[in-house]
């Protein structure tokens, strides 16, 4: 049986604004097994980034984790002290962000930024840290590693900056790497290089990865399992293959069908009507009901619970409580 290295239980992160509390993340449960790549997929405003920031305890004001547990190797990070979190961040859990230029400090040399983590977390000497930094730069495929140590971030291309970010996140050999849209700002050929690198890190160093993205294609390439988020909740969760082959939530199904395919031309794209609701605006029933092609009277009344379909596949949809719900879902959408 796979052992989970990270377990998130009933996590709620709300933003306490003047207009009341906005539930950006509204009660999510998931786990990450040792050595696994988990994809968290969702559109803007679904709460996927807030989830990753919550794990790192980096949610800024006015955001606050109001409920839930985040168990890392059995330790609850929600209750951890700031001092302990500093050891965890970068040391045990590494994180990379979408835009490498804004996450690197423009006035420090690449080398200085890389060794900083080693000096703090591993109390290494300058020379040892430098040697290790060059090693990790080579591992992530950066050419001329020795010279690059003395370069500033603006001297590198987007793809190289993202490699530096990954090197920084990986330098203390964290158990978990959280990647928040790591390839969204990159061109497709560079994206292929970075995804390849992430798979390599996962295989060779057995790093567990949480990949946060809006791109189902990226998820399909690298992830073992997927959790789909909508309006602050996980609406569907399962192994990549079964989830993409046979999506069980109308939202996931709609997403899959609305992507234009490079392999063939679809006559017409499916499109989900309307917009993603602002967090907290749906008070009653299923937050997707207003856009759902399969919605029935119950959907605007009851809040759906996560239903286990077996084979690690779970879905939050009232249709699956109905007798012929699953078959109904198979009928194609207009």
């Amino acid at each position: 049986m796979d052992k989970p290295i990270l377990e998130v239980k009933e996590l709620k992160t709300h933003f306490l604004t003047d207009n009341g509390s906005v539930p950006a993340v509204d009660g999510i449960d998931f786990h990450l097994n040792d050595g696994e790549v988990l994809g968290i997929v969702g559109e803007s405003g679904s709460g996927k980034s807030v989830t990753s920031l919550s794990i790192m305890q980096l949610v800024g004001q006015p955001g606050k984790i109001v409920d839930g547990e985040i168990l890392f190797d059995g330790e609850d990070l929600v209750k951890a002290s700031e001092k302990r979190m500093r050891q965890v961040r970068g040391g045990k859990i590494g994180m990379i962000f979408q835009e490498p230029m804004t996450s690197l400090n423009p006035v420090y040399k690449i080398g200085n930024q890389l060794v900083e983590a080693l000096r703090i977390h591993k109390k290494m000497s300058k020379d040892a840290a430098r040697k290790r930094a060059i090693e990790i730069m080579k591992l992530v495929g950066l050419p001329r590693a020795e010279d690059l140590m003395n370069d500033y971030p603006h001297q590198l291309s987007g793809g190289m900056r993202q490699r530096v970010m990954i090197a920084m996140a990986m330098i203390c050999e964290p158990k978990i790497l959280i990647a928040d849209e790591p390839t969204t700002a990159l061109d497709v050929t560079i994206q292929a290089q970075i995804l390849d690198l992430m798979k390599k890190l996962n295989h060779e160093l057995n790093t567990s990865i949480i990949m946060i993205t809006h791109d189902l294609g990226v998820v399909s390439e690298v992830c073992d399992r997927i959790a789909v988020m909508y309006a602050g909740r996980i609406v569907e969760e399962g192994e990549t293959k079964s989830l993409l082959r046979n999506p069980q939530h109308p939202y996931t199904k709609g997403l899959v069908e609305s992507i234009p395919d490079v392999r063939y031309k679809k006559e017409r794209l499916y499109s989900i009507p309307g917009n993603v609701p602002t967090p907290g605006s749906v008070k009653k029933g299923c937050p997707f009901a207003a856009r759902c092609a399969f919605a029935f009277d119950k959907c605007s009344e009851d809040s759906p619970i996560l239903i286990d379909l077996g084979d690690n596949h779970r879905v939050r949809c009232l249709l699956h409580e109905e007798e012929n719900g699953a078959e109904l879902l198979q009928t194609s959408m207009k």
Partner: protein, 325 residues
């Protein structure tokens, strides 16, 4: 026989690099370097490529938002590079543009009505009442409601703003619409709404599109023909299905193989290109792609390949296909 609406010939844009006290020109960035293509009435030409390949610069030059360094832009029989600025302003009635960022391309201080009405005012079309009526009509066409007219851009979501941008472009009944990454800032579920809208509008108003984008899936969906750009040059141009199913140029092949597909059962040979796109201020000698090309030969380092027909209507600039047909 398809009617040609736009013919671009040898279009170039070189941005000067100046340095030193006297700001002497010390080099140039060859953003677009000898691009030629034709666009037939009612068709959609997709222009794809990675950042910095010159696809947006090409689009902007067609509107003369950027002055071309060299080349001809023949639109409806008239060379747009030869006419004066005031004549160009009139010509823009027939060529309109939809921009990438629906947040930056709408004036935040104007109501939606004022935004959509502006091109009508500029081109002196209709009186106040007629314009008001036209705005309502346009809002309806792009799937918004007439009560939206009095609102401001910040009150809309990204997808709705892009609809406003499209309504503005349609206001003057243009013949050609240049869409520069119109859906790349939108979420997947909203993206498909806007793509479907563009499809419908094309059929309804017999529009011609030049669709500039980096997303290969989106381009395949919307385009009849596709041109692939690399470092300021078109490396391959062909009918869309032909280009996606039988790409000739090694760059097109690599580009297509790099696209992640949301299908776990799809297995493909992925070509991973090494390195980055070279700088356009100092492009490699010979074929611009030879530094990253897995199939580069010695000739590629010396001679720039010409765009030539390898199959009916399928042109590519690559030495692999010989200099003669």
């Amino acid at each position: 026989m398809p009617e040609t609406l736009l013919e671009v010939e040898g279009l170039k844009k070189h941005f000067p690099i100046r340095s030193g006290l006297l700001q002497k020109q010390t080099g140039s960035v060859k953003a677009v370097d000898d691009v030629s293509f034709t666009l037939n009435k009612g068709e959609t030409l997709g222009l794809v490529g990675e950042s910095g390949c010159g696809k947006s610069t090409t689009g902007r030059m067609l509107m003369r938002l950027l002055e071309p360094t060299e080349g001809k832009i023949i639109f409806d029989g008239k060379d747009l590079t030869k006419i004066s600025k005031s004549e160009m302003r009139k010509a823009r009635k027939d060529i309109q543009m939809v921009f990438q960022d629906p947040f930056a391309s709408l004036n935040p201080r104007h109501t939606v009505e004022r935004i959509i009405e502006e091109p009508l005012i500029v081109h002196g079309l209709g009186n106040k009442q007629e314009r008001k009526k036209r705005v309502k009509e346009l809002l309806d066409i792009v799937g918004l409601s007439s009560y939206h007219a009095g609102r401001y851009p910040h009150q809309f979501s990204g997808g709705q703003r892009q609809r406003i941008g499209i309504a503005r472009a349609l206001a003057v009944n243009p013949k050609l619409i240049i869409a520069d990454e119109p859906v790349s800032a939108l979420d997947v579920s909203i993206q498909s709404q806007v793509l479907n809208l563009l499809d419908d509008l094309q059929k309804e108003f017999d529009l011609t599109y030049l669709f500039v984008a980096h997303d290969l899936g989106v381009v395949r969906h919307i385009s009849d023909r596709v041109a692939v750009m690399y470092l300021g040059k078109i490396v391959e141009i062909s009918d869309g299905d032909q280009l996606y199913e039988q790409p000739k140029h090694p760059y097109t092949q690599a580009l297509l193989s790099a696209v992640p597909v949301a299908d776990p059962d799809y297995k493909k040979e992925r070509i991973i290109l090494g390195g980055d796109v070279p700088s356009a201020s100092n492009p490699p000698k010979g074929c611009p792609f030879h530094t990253r090309c897995p199939m580069a030969m010695s000739i590629c380092k010396e001679v720039v390949p010409n765009l030539q027909e390898v199959e009916q209507g399928h042109l590519t600039a690559c030495h692999l296909y010989g200099e003669s047909k």
